[in-house]
Amino acid sequence: MHSTLHRVDTTQLLKGVLDLAVLAALRDDDGYGYDILRRLRAAGLDDVGDASVYGTLRRLFQGGFLTTYVVPSEEGPHRKYYALNAAGRAQLGSSSKVWRTFAQTMDRLIEEPGVAS
């Protein structure tokens, strides 16, 4: 067995929290795929993959957390907008809590020695 030592990088971290990130990006406004991608990047998640966002959107939709509607566009093909439904908002709430707890735990763990204890 090869040793599987993962250097911590944002791509790895993103895998676990992409659902939460996408739900959060839809909290205030509905959006289509590229919209959401732009919001995530604008928020600082530069490493977020194009296809990852679309795949995540599909999974969340299949999971019943999102609704969709189609908006015809004047130029080019129509756009599929995604919106949070009640289940999506509930999921966003609970996932946010889990994340905060986890982030705080990690913060405490990696704080400078001496400061902890």
Binding site: Y32, A51, Y54, R59, Q62, G76
Partner: protein, 303 residues
């Protein structure tokens, strides 16, 4: 179609190809948003999509992982029981065999040679269809019927003209189609002309006589004959049933080669003549096979 559309189409078909093992609805669902997205990307920034997004296969892999569909297995996801590792090993083994067999028959790969045989299959499948049709409707083999030949030639021409069918079928129908073809071949082989005609066995009598266990010769007056030697056109003694059944000790173990004489056994199995077969050992006729006199038995029955 604009250059942009072509670019989008090409990239999209690359993505779709990498998703080909998934059910069609899932594929459609996964790529639904992508044309609009790609169009927007190209709107912002001219240049190949591959530069922006990486190879379509990688894009597809990311898409399906994020969608929670798991990595491509090479087989259909419907059979998740297939161990991925095992499937990989089997595939590697098949590739090696392909190359090794190819080397033996002088082709880069065995499948290269098999591919050359495809036109032969197109003709053969026409034969199968004709054969099955004639067997089912007329219970006869088309090659013994002039109409059969006409149908066969017409179907063969059509079949060759159509060429490969499998790629034209929708994905789910391909497996069943190949299976149906395999079954048809087996049925056709079972129904092939060789079935009804037994090859004469090496010792010269045909299967038609396999039910005969003894022979009761009579002369024209209805008198039973005994100790009759029977020879075929080659001068080979004919044996029916178990020719040793009623052989005497002497015949069994004597120095003379045993040639069966009929009737082999004295039996009351007579149908028409009222007289029961005489048991007297007097031979009424001595055989003189012209073909092979060397095999002629000594006419003296005294042993």
């Amino acid at each position: 179609m604009s250059a942009v559309d072509v670019e989008i189409d090409q990239y999209l078909s690359g993505v779709r190809a990498a998703l080909a093992d998934l059910p069609t609805e899932v594929q459609d669902d996964l790529v639904d948003d992508l044309p609009a997205h790609f169009a927007e990307l190209l709107d912002e920034h001219r240049g190949p999509l591959v530069e922006r997004l990486g190879p379509p296969e990688v894009y597809a892999a990311e898409l399906r992982t994020a969608a929670g569909l798991g990595a491509r297995t090479g087989t259909r996801r419907r059979w998740p029981a297939v161990n991925e590792d095992l499937a990989d090993k089997a595939a590697a083994l098949a590739r090696t065999a392909d190359l090794k067999i190819g080397a033996v028959i002088g082709y880069p790969k065995a499948t290269d040679f098999v591919r050359l045989l495809r036109p032969a299959w197109w003709v053969f499948r026409a034969y199968i269809v004709t054969l099955l049709f004639f067997e089912v409707t007329l219970h006869e083999n088309p090659i013994y019927n002039p109409v059969g030949w006409v149908v066969l030639i017409a179907l063969a021409l059509l079949s060759v003209r159509i060429g490969p069918i499998t790629p034209r079928l929708v994905r789910w129908a391909r497996g069943p189609a190949v299976l149906a073809a395999a079954v048809a071949v087996l049925v056709a082989l079972a129904a092939s002309p060789g079935r009804t005609y037994y090859q004469p066995s090496s010792d010269g009598y045909s299967d038609r006589w396999s039910q005969v266990t003894d022979v009761y010769p009579y002369d024209k007056n209805g008198n039973p004959l005994s100790d009759i030697y029977l020879y075929d056109q080659n001068g080979t003694p004919m044996e029916f049933g178990d020719a040793w059944r009623c052989a005497t000790e002497d015949q069994r173990y004597g120095s003379q080669p045993y040639i069966p004489r009929y009737p082999l056994c004295k039996g009351p199995v007579m149908a028409s003549p009222s007289a029961s077969p005489s048991t007297s050992p007097s031979p009424s006729s001595s055989p003189s096979p012209s073909a092979s006199p060397s095999l002629a038995p000594s006419p003296s029955p005294s042993k």
